[in-house]
């Protein structure tokens, strides 16, 4: 199993969710994060002074999937999250040793189904 961790723009979350559901991937975990990268952060005004933040709001999506689904999931995310502008984000893929479903105690691939 792999964990596919995507950092995306908050406004693409809905689109990514839809794309994943079309793939029949129904499980995922979403976290609000802030990202630093090539993209400039927002510029805030405070009584005439301006601050440019180094961090931009992002959303992290974690999908743990069977090894065989990796490619399709990554593709679906890239497609639905892409705007073409700097700041679209990254996907990190890492190996997961085991999964447990808390409700049933199931382990391994069964826990994901």
């Amino acid at each position: 199993m792999v964990k596919i961790e995507a950092i995306i723009r908050p406004q693409r979350l809905e689109a990514v969710q839809t794309a994943l559901e079309e793939l029949d991937v129904h499980g995922m975990t979403v976290t609000e994060v802030k990202g630093m990268g090539k993209q400039r952060g927002a510029t805030y005004t405070y009584r005439g002074s301006q601050y440019t933040l180094s961090l931009s709001p992002k959303v992290k999506i974690e999908v743990v999937a069977l090894d065989g689904d990796e490619k399709a999931v990554v593709e679906a995310i890239v497609k639905s999250a892409q705007t073409g502008e700097v700041g679209d984000g990254k996907i990190f893929i890492a190996h997961i040793d085991d999964v447990v479903r808390i409700r049933t105690g199931e382990r391994g691939d069964a826990a994901l189904s």
Binding site: E14, A42, Y44, T45, Q50
Partner: protein, 472 residues
């Protein structure tokens, strides 16, 4: 002079000496001030004139001004003043987090811009003498408003003109601010200010003149609008409809994304403060502390209460839950509908009007789904529908027992009054709708009305104002 009057005069002199009214910081001769006011109160006395001639207090109110009425109207004015920040809370809590400030700014900026336009121009257009019944003259324009005397036309003789100007200003401020709920989360700030300012001059000032000016043509027709059910609520509701149509739907609505209110606690508190301020709005519209003011206070309070109950019952029946936003919306719906009726109805009919409005508006906020326009915060559903409903129900429930001065309007019977109410509302609503379309189209010829899609996604706060509401 008969001898029996000599002695009172002495008394007065003594009294005036005792109440030496030098205010802190001013050293003017003690016995010069406040005499006039004092004597005005005792104005039945023959000797007053003489006393006034002797030692006029230059800061006292003019003869004819009622001090208790004036105190009351100062109170009513600050109560209506606070309604606009309250509206900012009510609306600001309902939009998404990224638009909270821009939505509140829509209300606050009206307190700035409309005040100045009113001082220089629109008060006079609305309340200056009018021969044609359509628009006032410029007698009070450019800030020429007396502070201790009533308006020269005598329409409101019991309070100083400056105070009348301020009281009416507060209505002029909140009316366009109400519209902002319909355009929230997508209209450009500059275009919004341009629209509301022009609307205030071209739409609000005339209709205020038609309905409230002594010689206004709708006033003479016999339509009743105690505190602005048509001028304020129905007019802004129709302008809101025009704006929705011109602006189109928010992206999130098109994409069927959930749109969640950022802070309903703020919306609830805003509704509470609107209730508080609305007492000044409705009871103050008696322009005096009389039977009508008290009657309007009672009817207004009961309508708000019953509106809340009506909406909650409707929600409970339809979806099984009574919501906090429903309570807030219902009380506002009740207040909207009682506005034209407040000084004309008895307590129980007042409650009934609120209750009906609570139920009707609970349904009418869904019209936008049926007809496919995007009225962000339901200005059409609450102020449009509620304002119209209130105008009609005013015709149904107006009673000579509640208000003995409307015998004329009720001469033709309740049905005839309902007909007049209908005409009055339709005329104002149609005028506001059409004029709003034209104003918006004109502005659009110069500058876009609507933020770009990116700005909409980013949120108005950051995109247009360079700010974030919360950094929690």
């Amino acid at each position: 002079m008969t001898p029996c009057l000599a002695s009172p005069e002495t008394k007065i002199d003594e009294y005036v000496k005792m109440s030496d009214p030098r205010r802190r910081g001013n050293s003017i001769p003690g016995n010069l001030m406040k005499k006039n006011r004092f004597l005005a109160v005792a104005a039945g006395l023959a000797l007053s004139a003489a006393a006034i001639a002797d030692t006029p207090d230059p800061t006292a109110m003019a003869k004819g001004i009622s001090l208790p009425d004036s105190v009351w109207m100062v109170v009513a004015t600050v109560l209506v003043l606070v309604m606009t920040p309250a509206l900012a809370m009510f609306y600001g809590g309902m939009v998404r987090r990224k638009n909270a400030l821009s939505s509140m700014m829509h209300s606050f900026i009206m307190m700035g811009v409309i005040s100045i336009v009113w001082l220089f121009l629109t008060y006079s257009l609305a309340f200056g003498k009018t021969s044609n019944g359509f628009i006032g003259n410029l007698e009070y324009a450019w800030g020429h408003i007396p502070m201790a005397h009533a308006n020269t036309d005598g329409a409101v003789p019991n309070i100083p003109a400056g105070l009348h100007m301020l009281y009416q200003l507060m209505f002029a401020i909140i009316t366009p601010a109400l519209i902002s709920g319909a355009v929230a989360e997508r209209m450009k700030f500059g275009a919004y200010v341009a629209f509301t300012t022009i609307w205030s001059i071209v739409v609000y000032a005339p209709i205020a003149c038609w309905v409230w000016n002594d010689n206004g043509w709708l006033n003479k027709l016999g339509a009743l609008d105690f505190a602005g059910g048509t001028v304020v609520h129905f007019a802004s509701g129709m302008a809101a409809l025009a704006a929705c149509l011109m602006l189109g739907k928010r992206k999130a609505v098109e994409n069927k994304e959930p749109i969640l209110p950022n802070n309903l606690t703020m919306t609830l508190v805003g509704a509470g403060l609107l209730w508080f301020g609305w007492i000044g709005f409705n009871a103050g519209s008696a322009l005096a502390l009389n039977k009508l003011a008290i009657g309007a206070f009672v009817a207004t309070h009961m309508a708000a209460a019953a509106g809340m109950i009506g909406w909650l019952i409707c929600e409970k029946l339809r979806i099984g839950k009574a919501t906090a936003l429903g309570a807030a919306s219902g009380l506002v719906a009740g207040l909207v509908a009682i506005t034209p009726a407040a000084g004309y109805v008895q307590p129980v009919p007042g409650a009934l009007i609120g209750f009906i409005a609570g139920i009707v508006c609970c349904y009418s906020v869904n019209l936008k789904y049926r007809f496919g326009f995007d009225d962000s915060l339901d200005v059409v559903g609450v102020h449009g529908v509620g304002g119209f409903l209130g105008a009609i129900l005013t015709g149904v429930f107006a009673s000579i027992v509640a208000n003995p001065t409307i015998a004329d309007q009720l001469k033709g019977g309740q049905l005839m009054l309902i007909f007049h109410q209908f005409i009055g509302a339709i005329v104002i609503g149609a005028f506001s709708f059409v004029a709003s379309l034209i104003i918006l189209a004109t502005i659009k010829a110069f500058t876009p009305l609507r933020a770009t899609e990116e700005e909409e996604i980013e949120g108005m706060d950051e995109a247009l104002h360079g700010e974030a509401a919360y950094n929690l």
